[in-house]
Symmetry: C2
């Protein structure tokens, strides 16, 4: 098989606009990404990155979300990618085991500099990018993430190159080589989870994509079979055999942006803790108890279901984005699970002390729900009170996940929570108008 060439061919010849549900989902995805980025517009990290970019200089080509400044196309891809993912508030996709829109959307927006009018092709390109990233995620195998790769980073550049390739309708030869350039620059480590570098890894994948397509279109020489063979991308980062059976199977018949679908987040922390958040909030609504009454909180996952939750004793709200212990504690103390709880501020010591009451358990005997998101996942939160009472709640499909999806109204609520009404309305309009200059409004 020649996976690289066949992928390029499949991408360029499909027509995602035939599927109206995919188009709707793409519009929601754009708005949700804008909301996620605006939520981070005052982030300290973006200020530092902007200063470094300024030091290097560059043409003023594409705006950076909420920053009132334009930077070069590659820098914009990086900075907008960083912003969308900065608070881990952006969509995830279970096939990707990562964040597709944070890479795909900024890569595409960085293309809107020329006088061409892409129109609806923009949405089709976004659907394509999510599709390829989901297929890469499935093809690379579970061990990829488990070994320590950050899928958003390692899969994002190739996927975004396919999205841009579709948008610009580059030739098959150009796209094949661009996939190769992106593949050979793919990186990102889970070891960076909990630091500013995690969202930057999304931005860097977007930047690599913009750069890789330019390299290919300039005629720069590159290998045209980087996804293939014993030294190829899948052999190196994952599983060649799996890729050969999964990467292209039925490409274009249904779209992964719809099924299994993007998962939009109502909480600004790692999606692996969303089930637990729904569960504890539900328990809090159904039962009246105080923090001091709770002797123990057990959080039960399937084995490996908490792999992304790398912080068990977080010191700051930022680290707490990857801590189910912190999420449970916040809810128990009656605090809202909103942005202000997940900043660089130190977690109060009474809460850090209480968090010791939370323990994680793994149960492989529990049957997952057939429609669970992600597949095979569930979380049970079980509270034991000092008076001996135990109460528990199991969640298989958290709010916002496919099967329990947010409506456009929910997404507008999220957008309204991070910017004023008129700005939010302008963005809704921009997405509905669907032309290049209106899409650029998302960056305003």
């Amino acid at each position: 098989m020649e996976l690289t060439k066949q992928l390029a061919e499949a991408v360029l010849s499909a027509d995602p606009l035939q599927d109206q549900r995919a188009v709707e989902m793409a519009r929601n995805g754009l708005l949700d990404a804008a909301a996620s980025a605006l939520a981070a517009k005052e982030d300290e990290g973006i200020q530092k990155l902007m200063a470094l970019v300024e030091q290097e200089g560059g043409a003023a080509q594409i705006p950076v979300m909420g920053q009132g400044k334009k930077v070069s196309r590659q820098s914009a891809a990086m900075l907008n990618g960083y912003l969308i993912h900065a608070l881990d508030y952006d969509d995830v996709h279970s096939d990707v085991r990562g964040h597709p829109s944070a890479v795909i959307i900024p890569s595409l927006l960085s293309q809107l500099t020329d006088s061409k009018e892409y129109g609806d092709r923009f949405l089709a390109a976004y659907i394509t990018g999510v599709e390829v990233m989901a297929r890469l995620g499935e093809s690379i195998g579970k061990a990829h993430y488990e070994r320590g790769w950050h899928n958003t980073g390692t899969l994002g550049a190739i996927a975004a190159v396919c999205a841009i390739g579709y948008l610009k309708q580059v030739s098959q030869e150009e796209l094949t080589k661009a996939i190769g350039f992106a593949g050979a620059q793919s990186a990102g480590m889970r070891k960076q989870f909990g630091s500013d570098m995690k969202p930057l890894q999304a931005g860097l994948a977007a930047k690599t994509a913009v750069w890789s397509i330019d390299l290919a279109c300039s005629g720069f020489g590159g290998n045209d079979s980087v996804l293939d063979g014993a030294l190829g991308f899948f052999s190196l980062y994952g599983d060649q055999e799996l890729a050969e059976s999964r990467l292209l199977e039925g490409y274009g018949s249904t779209w992964r942006i719809v099924a299994p679908g993007l998962w939009f987040k109502i909480y600004p922390f790692c999606s692996a803790a969303h089930h637990a958040a729904d569960a504890i909030l539900s328990l809090m609504r159904e039962h009246a108890f105080l923090p001091e009454q709770v002797k123990q909180a057990d959080v039960v996952f399937p084995p490996g279901g908490d792999a992304a939750l790398i912080e068990r004793t977080p010191l700051t709200g930022e680290e707490g984005r990857f801590s189910v212990e912190y999420v449970i504690a916040l809810a128990i103390f009656g605090q809202t699970l909103t942005l202000d709880a997940f900043t660089k501020k130190t977690i109060p010591s009474y809460m850090r002390t209480w968090m010791k009451r939370v323990s994680r358990e793994y149960d492989q005997t529990i049957e997952p729900h057939p429609d669970a998101v992600p597949k095979g996942r569930f979380t049970i939160v079980k509270l034991t009170l000092f008076d001996g009472t135990t109460i528990s709640k199991r969640i298989d499909i958290p709010q916002g996940a496919p099967g329990n999806a947010l409506s456009i109204d929910d997404i507008m609520k999220k957008l309204n929570s991070v910017t004023d009404d008129s700005h939010a309305q302008l963005m809704l309009q921009a997405v509905e108008e669907g032309n290049d200059s209106s899409y650029l409004q998302l960056l305003a």
Copy 2:
């Protein structure tokens, strides 16, 4: 063990200038790198890269070798790294199993923008970079390269970050984080060997280093133990256990730039074919025969000794840089093994036909020479003539390799072959003067 912090500490506290041989070797390395880059100054790839960099814009901060233009610091690191490695004419190091100077030198030269005067510290930083890259190469294990990673790319960014960290005397905390940023962006695939992307992978590692140190010094948040633990760099790309025993052992007592030492190339092609080149040229000198008299040429390696020679039937001179078959054929036809034979030009069909007479063999029963370069390597070229005569020559240490080193005169000869005498003399002077503005002369 805390490898990341300990590496930063070891780097910052050592004093490479104590070793005069290391300092001499560093001076030779600078001149050899300049010669290698100037040999490529008319390369088509650099023109395309320059045009792409121009399109992005950027401050005019650092010159690009032989191009008469300045670009931003990051872009200069990338472009100069590309140029040094473009023709595979630059030094290699057996511990690295790759090209240290193509990454370390451009990263360091990109720092010479401020008003600080680093002086001799520049050479010390270069020695440091080679040291760390060699130690990373040993620590990552042989399987790393064999699986398909391009060590120059994957190890270069961390090594160059250590070199810059030493030059600028950043704090231990900054260097620790910078190592983490570089580690999480490390990439490069052997699949790209034989294309323009191979040398670009050296340049990209240099660019990543410049960017990573800036990120760390800006206070951007990152993990401070990226080389450690089950999700760390060595676990992910190589062998954690090996790294724990090798990375820091005896740091600063001797310098790898001297032992095993840089290997400067007298031929502009992959070092894995240099033994065979010395052998065939020696046979040609000793015996008078014509191409049509040669029935068969057997090239005998230890198993795996030809892994880098991925082209058995090259179509162009550029592909021929990775083909022992082509090198043998060139020599047999009495052509010189110089730059003009390794361009994008198609190899004449009579030569491609003749190349079929070359076959590769592997013999694990042959004892390598104790001082062989690289360790365990040898190459035997055995010619069988149509009249039944067989003649053969074995090479263990090729010309230019440590143990058979080029003198400064040899390096000046290489420099003189790619630029005029007065320019070459200016460069020699620049390296001897050893101050920041003189080092910048190397880029003029």
